[in-house]
């Protein structure tokens, strides 16, 4: 089942053509890494999929609905099935972790048990801490826990592991992989860490100058003779 279908997507900010024809598909249960150098249009692409940003031309169908044709109410419905982790992660700074979870549970009308989420994400020591007082890594974990509250069909992560230490990175990826296996949910993420892409992603899309330069499975890319995804990236992308 196709969760996302993008064809000839174009987006400009003023005279700056950021996306100049993106083609992309994501099927149920896939983990897809979107890579490219800074300014390649990765975040713009994700924000369009998140329903946060309009686009100029092309087709963007998320969960079977073309975004450009939806009413505000329909967009709100689509958002019930999408969860996101933004970079940087920000929530109400004067709410405690457990309060944030309760608030977002209400937003998503989620049946998920807050205590279970706190247990699953090892948040017990932080449940009474203000979000603003958490370290960057724990902010990301809380953000992911909130994202999972809705049991989303599509999870979009914008550089989720940036700035995290190896333990935190490992923890985050464990949750993402478990979620993917347990629910069959689709994960689309951007990252600059090519090892993560190689380890965890089923497919890779390389954005270069606003177009899809490569969109293939991780194995497919490696079978072309590249020693690693990092090697592939360095050979394809110049400074």
């Amino acid at each position: 089942m196709k969760i996302v279908r993008v064809s000839n997507l174009q987006k400009a900010y003023g005279g700056n053509n950021v996306l100049r024809g993106i083609d992309f598909t994501a099927n149920a249960g896939e983990i897809i890494g979107v890579i490219g150098k800074n300014g390649a249009g990765k975040s713009t692409f994700l924000e369009i999929l998140m329903t946060l940003n309009p686009y100029d031309n092309g087709i963007v169908a998320v969960l079977g609905s073309e975004l450009n044709t939806l009413t505000a109410n329909q967009i709100e419905q689509i958002r019930r099935d999408i969860s996101v982790v933004l970079q940087p992660t920000q929530f109400y700074k004067t709410l405690k972790v457990v309060e944030l979870l309760k608030l977002f549970k209400a937003y998503y009308n989620s049946p998920v048990d807050i205590e279970q989420i706190i247990f699953d994400f090892k948040l017990q020591p932080h449940r009474k801490k203000y979000f603003d007082k958490l370290s960057g890594g724990w902010k990301q974990i809380v953000s992911l826990a909130i994202a999972f509250l809705s049991e989303p069909k599509l999870l979009i992560l914008d550089e989720p592991t940036t700035g995290l230490d190896p333990h935190m990175r490992n923890m985050l990826w464990t949750y993402i992989s478990e979620y993917n296996k347990r629910t069959g949910g689709t994960v689309i993420l951007t990252t600059h860490n090519m090892d993560e892409v190689e380890l965890y992603c089923d497919k890779v899309m390389l954005l270069n100058n606003g177009v899809t330069e490569v969109f293939d499975s991780t194995e497919g890319i490696l079978s072309n003779g590249y020693k690693s995804i990092n090697d592939f990236y360095l050979s394809k992308v110049s400074i």
Partner: protein, 271 residues
């Protein structure tokens, strides 16, 4: 969902020292302090200190709450990225807006009763049921006008620092030119001129008159009402047509596509 949002909105207000100081602490303390200095004076309309300054300080609290906890809060959430994360969840924008309005009304109403209570205890302020109801109705109308004006002004800010400096400066300007300290006729000429262009000053004059049952439909009253209506109308136009970052943020797909509507029309002005 509305009650949950309202509960957390109120909780967040109580945890912001900055908001508490400028809304719930400074005005009542100033009310008491000024009363110690000028408690025996007689003011325009042969009114006592309490009759003049009780409605004034209720209005000052309202102004503080609406400008800090409603307006400035919008800028803070917008510039820190909180708003971006919230709008990506399926919470109806009307719920967020309504919760914010209710939050402001609840807090300002508490301020109303707090100052009224202090007035009764410290200055023997009398309770007249009819005047009280009329004054509370006027207070709600003024609250609505201030919410619109505040929302329009803060929709123009793109930086939190700018909004913070503005908030602190405007609080001082309103304190001195709104008639909350010394009577405006006793102030220098330039302050009197500024006061004429300060909608909160006009609100204050009207509120004092209604509070004391002295409202007369004369030129001064019509001028005050006209000015408040004008500023409110301009604010509505700014909110409707202003190309603010907040507005564009909610503009999902352009209305000229003829479908889908404009998220901006649902004007989420809160968190």
């Amino acid at each position: 969902m509305l009650l949950t949002q309202l509960k957390y909105d109120l909780l967040m207000f109580t945890r912001e020292i900055f908001y508490l100081v400028f809304t719930i602490i400074v005005p009542p303390v100033t009310y008491l302090f000024m009363g110690q200095l000028f408690g025996n004076a007689t003011y325009t309309g042969n009114l006592s200190y309490a009759e003049t300054y009780t409605p004034s300080f209720i209005l000052l609290i309202t102004f503080g709450v609406v400008f800090f906890a409603f307006g400035f809060d919008q800028v803070m959430n917008r510039t820190t990225g909180v708003e971006k994360r919230i709008i990506l969840s399926p919470v109806p924008k009307r719920t967020l807006l309504l919760s914010n309005i209710l939050k402001s009304i609840i807090i300002t109403s508490l301020g109303y009763f707090l100052v009224f209570f202090i007035g009764m205890i410290a200055y023997d302020l009398s309770f007249l049921p009819f005047n009280f109801i009329l004054a509370f109705g006027t207070f709600i109308l003024l609250n609505a006008a201030l919410l619109i004006i505040s929302s329009a002004i803060y929709s123009l800010f793109t930086s939190m620092n700018g909004a913070l400096v503005f908030s602190i400066v405007i609080f001082q300007v309103v304190m001195f030119t709104g008639g909350f300290t010394m009577p405006i006729p006793m102030m220098p000429k330039f302050v009197q001129v500024i006061a004429d262009f300060n909608p909160v000053y006009h609100m204050n004059q009207l509120f004092i008159a209604v509070w004391n049952g002295q409202l007369e439909w004369n030129a001064a009253t019509l001028k005050s009402i006209g000015f408040i209506v004008l500023v409110t109308a301009v604010s509505l136009l700014v909110l409707r047509f202003g190309n603010s970052p907040r507005k564009s943020f909610f503009k999902w797909y352009p209305t000229n596509r003829g479908r889908g509507g404009d998220m901006g029309n649902e004007s989420y002005t809160g968190h």
